[in-house]
Symmetry: C2
Subunit: 209 residues, 2 copies
Amino acid sequence: MLFCDIGNSNANFLEDHKYFTLSIEQFLEFKSEQKIFYINVNENLKNYLKSQKNFIDLEPFFVFDTIYQGLGIDRIAACYTIDDGVIVDAGSAITIDIIANSIHLGGFILPGITNFRKIYAHISPRLKCEFNTQVSFDAFPQKTKDALSYGVFKSIYLLIKDTAQNKKLYFTGGDGQFLANYFDNAIYDKLLVFRGMKKIIQENPNLLI
Amino acid sequence: MLFCDIGNSNANFLEDHKYFTLSIEQFLEFKSEQKIFYINVNENLKNYLKSQKNFIDLEPFFVFDTIYQGLGIDRIAACYTIDDGVIVDAGSAITIDIIANSIHLGGFILPGITNFRKIYAHISPRLKCEFNTQVSFDAFPQKTKDALSYGVFKSIYLLIKDTAQNKKLYFTGGDGQFLANYFDNAIYDKLLVFRGMKKIIQENPNLLI
């Protein structure tokens, strides 16, 4: 079975246990005879996807309790896998969603780590540098590289900690593993969004016919 | 007396009690017969400023105790005004510096609020919107505008709060007043950097001759 989660910069595929990523340009060249069960948040691709006969949009099948207006289907899919906890999807943006008793309590958004780097470089050439992923949170930084890294990583850390309180944390996305390391009792699950999509197939087995 | 604090996007002037801002383009057109006491962090303007006879660089006169490598002279000037506390300069970047017993303990950097908006718009057209400056920190957001605002403002707030502990907070810069409102016992001083420059003149009265 072939699943596809389409974002703004990439399309992630899962075929059985094989995971691969295509850029949007590569994705537009991708051809398959198989049914492709997909979700998509990329506005530019909506019409293209409708025109592809073997692409099946799973979005209409998600029944999800929230009052959040315009919650992205990738966030819904990830939330669909848990009854209680906080989900952090750390990609080009970092989305944080809070679930209690299978109800979505709300969520918020930060820039992704790579995009923090881009914005620093845009502000000043003096702020253009790699992050120090080992920067200590226990001493104030003494050089620019650490000053930028501390600002980004500690502000993300504190906001997630403040949100989680005693809830379980589920991380996914390209920087999910890195951020999960800051927390005890955090789970990193690269395939969280795909698990939500698979749950839809289980709930709607006639989609396979 | 004419003071000038030159950054990456603007040059701020103080003439007696008159404060005004020029863009870098406007600054390059600006002519005066007076002595202009300046500090500058804009690499592109270093040679230009050296060629201007009435521009006097105050940077060499700051005697400042820090082990921080490459601390910007604008940050030094602001820190020069206090013996103890935390200084937050919220402009195109937000710099946070910690002083105890007239010693600089270190500091760190976040993107400025306007630049957070730019980076969201860059990530996705769905994330392009104004911030809600009234967003509540006490309930999880239920729409994109609030989700972005909560992410930015609360992460900045938590990191400054974590830094300050019981120290006094001094805010300056274009977004300084807005951020100061989140804290009790915070001082907003638009002219903090200029106060540091004036202190140099007091310590070196022969500069006026």
